[in-house]
């Protein structure tokens, strides 16, 4: 059975945080929820695990014993050691403390030599791997991780995604939020949020292929087309017609597709 949302709206303090969101989190796969700050990623995570109640729509999730969760910017008790953090989770879920699972996770995360170190003394990457290990420890049916790679170096981000892939490989339905568009490639399914609404959903490839119009690269900003700065040049999107003078044609990547979709929505509203 898959978990997720059907047409979910959540209002917080009179403001609509997410609106009409559909979300499928399949067992054995990673669903990435991508969006800028304030897009509704954390609201999506918190609603899925039950910390927030939807104003409208349906939420599908397993019982509490089958949910692993890592909140944004947290996930470990900094004044407990690696071993104590894992032991606490094991006890909370009614599992044996020094189990094969515990040893296996220490091995795959590379935290074996650091079991007696305080979580607060670990590097950001190691601490994040510990947080993911804690979420994976009870072999949950659904694992939700809110921005597990934010603030990490590229190597550590790759390590965290490797762990998420492993969790999915064990049959868990994994949902991870991120603000890094390039991480979408690592997920089986991607949901892009913009201002609380789904901007695009599907596989990274299907989202890429949904691009309509023309994309160009220009050294200067054209006045009569949607354009955004990327590196030392401008990306130019023209939904209909031809590229402005001075712009040369380019193949859109995922970031271009999502940005163009955001422009399209802006113009439509």
């Amino acid at each position: 059975m898959s978990f997720g949302f059907t047409d979910v709206t959540v209002e917080l303090g009179g403001e609509t945080a997410i609106e009409g969101v559909d979300l499928e989190v399949e067992p054995g796969a990673i669903t990435a929820v991508i969006g800028a700050d304030g897009a509704g990623k954390t609201t999506t995570s918190r609603t899925l695990v039950g910390l927030l109640s939807p104003t409208a729509g349906t939420v599908r999730r397993p019982r509490a014993e089958a949910i692993g969760y890592q909140p944004e910017a947290a996930g470990t008790w900094l004044d407990l050691t690696v071993s104590e953090n894992l032991s606490f989770v094991a006890r909370a879920y009614g599992l044996p403390v020094a189990s094969d699972r515990y040893r296996e996770l220490l091995e795959v995360t590379g935290l074996g030599p650091a079991t007696d170190r305080l979580a607060g003394e670990l590097s950001g990457g190691m601490r994040q791997k510990l947080a993911v290990a804690m979420a994976m420890l009870p072999r949950p049916e659904l694992t939700v991780l809110d921005e597990p790679t934010t603030g990490l170096d590229p190597m550590s981000r790759a390590e965290v995604w490797r762990l998420l892939a492993r969790a999915a490989g064990e049959g868990t339905a994994v949902l991870a939020t991120t603000s890094y568009l390039n991480e979408a490639e690592r997920a089986s399914h991607v949901v892009v949020l913009d201002n609380g609404k789904v901007l695009a959903a599907g596989t990274a490839e299907s989202i890429r292929s949904s691009f309509r119009g023309l994309l160009g690269i220009s050294a200067t900003r054209p006045l009569d087309a949607s354009a955004w700065r990327r590196g030392n040049h401008w990306r130019v999107w023209v939904p209909n017609g031809s590229l402005p003078p001075g712009a040369r044609s380019a193949t859109p990547d995922l970031e271009d597709v999502v940005t163009a979709a955001a422009y399209a929505r802006q113009e439509a509203s």
Partner: protein
């Protein structure tokens, strides 16, 4: 520099709690404590088991009280009166309760002065013959330690979880709210109990504070008192977003208890309005229990009322704390425990 001043003013203006502490609290404290800060004893309750001597003219400060008991020590131990006057064949003997320091000093002065004017009366101070200040203060200080650990440290412990975001994680774990609540406060309960024992032992070793009564009665009083203070700690944590706010609130609750509980100023000396604030504070009752048990060997029936009032306060504060704490975890809990169709 101006940039810094403007930034600071803007921040303070938005931190309403700190602003209230800086402006409203000093005024409130001055008014309340101004009426409370008095060592003058206006009334001394005197029991005359043999009846008031014929033709005796009592000073205004002495207020005769009725008692069904006849033994002076028994009367004082039960707290029926501050002084008991009986005849011993040759004259009168005034037995004074030394556990009420300021009342005892005032009574001693009244009866010594009466003796100097030829009244055949001798005075004796019971339970604290030297009218030692530390003997009276240490039992109350043990309560202050419990307050400190119970309210301040507990509130910080819970707020730390909220600030770190781990309270949210606990809410999603398959832990019942009561598991989280009890598990959170149990270590503080043990630490506070150990702290109290240390204070009492140190008080006994260094200051010679007597322990005349039942350890079990004091333990019962301490447990009920802890019940209130731990609840207050959790309650403070539920209305504080960070550790700074928790410390501010804890100090706001600690200060009145130090000054209005009878620990320093006798409750009887305070203006009526202020005294009633004292009656709402748990330290007031713990103070009565600790002094009663440690100094007077007060039996259960003598401290039953403060015990019952502590229990009542405990139920109210602890109950409110549980409800507030549950609401921190419960919205999620209700939804998370059951799959939503």
């Amino acid at each position: 520099m101006w940039a810094m001043v403007i930034k600071e003013v803007r921040q303070v203006r938005r931190d309403r709690r700190t602003l209230a502490m800086m402006i409203v609290m000093p005024i409130m404290l001055l008014v309340v404590f101004g009426y409370a800060a008095s060592f003058d004893v206006s009334t001394i309750r005197v029991a005359f088991p043999d009846g008031v001597p014929d033709g005796a003219s009592l000073p205004d400060v002495l207020e005769p009280v009725e008692t069904s008991r006849s033994d002076p020590v028994d009367i004082l131990r039960h707290g029926d009166a501050d002084v008991v006057v009986v005849g011993d064949g040759t004259g009168l003997v005034a037995s004074i309760d030394g556990s009420q320091l300021f009342t005892a000093r005032a009574a001693l002065q009244v009866f010594t002065s009466a003796a100097a004017q030829g009244v055949p009366i001798t005075s004796e101070v019971l339970f604290n013959p030297e009218l030692d200040t530390s003997a009276v203060l240490v039992p109350g200080l043990a309560g202050l330690v419990l307050l400190f650990v119970g309210s301040l440290i507990t509130s910080l412990g819970v707020v730390r979880e909220r600030q770190a975001g781990t309270l949210e994680q606990l809410a999603v774990m398959p832990l019942r709210p009561r598991d989280v609540f009890v598990g959170k406060i149990a270590p503080y309960f043990v630490v506070a109990a150990v702290d109290m024992v240390i204070v009492l032992v140190v008080g006994w070793l260094l200051f010679g504070v007597p322990f005349a009564g039942s350890v079990w009665l004091l333990a019962l009083g301490a447990m009920l008192f802890l019940f209130v203070t731990l609840g207050a700690g959790v309650l403070i944590s539920t209305v504080s977003e960070n550790q700074g706010q928790a410390i501010q609130l804890a100090i706001m609750t600690l200060l009145p208890q130090v000054l209005l509980s009878g620990l320093i100023f006798p409750l009887e000396s305070m203006a009526a309005g202020v005294r009633w604030i004292g009656y709402l504070l748990p330290l007031t009752y713990f103070n009565q229990i600790a002094r009663g048990v440690m100094l007077r060997d007060a039996p259960f029936e003598a401290i039953a009322l403060p015990l019952a009032l502590l229990a009542g306060l405990g139920l109210a504060v602890f109950g409110l704390a549980v409800l507030r704490f549950r609401s921190d975890l419960a919205p999620s809990r209700a939804a998370a425990l059951e799959p939503v169709a």
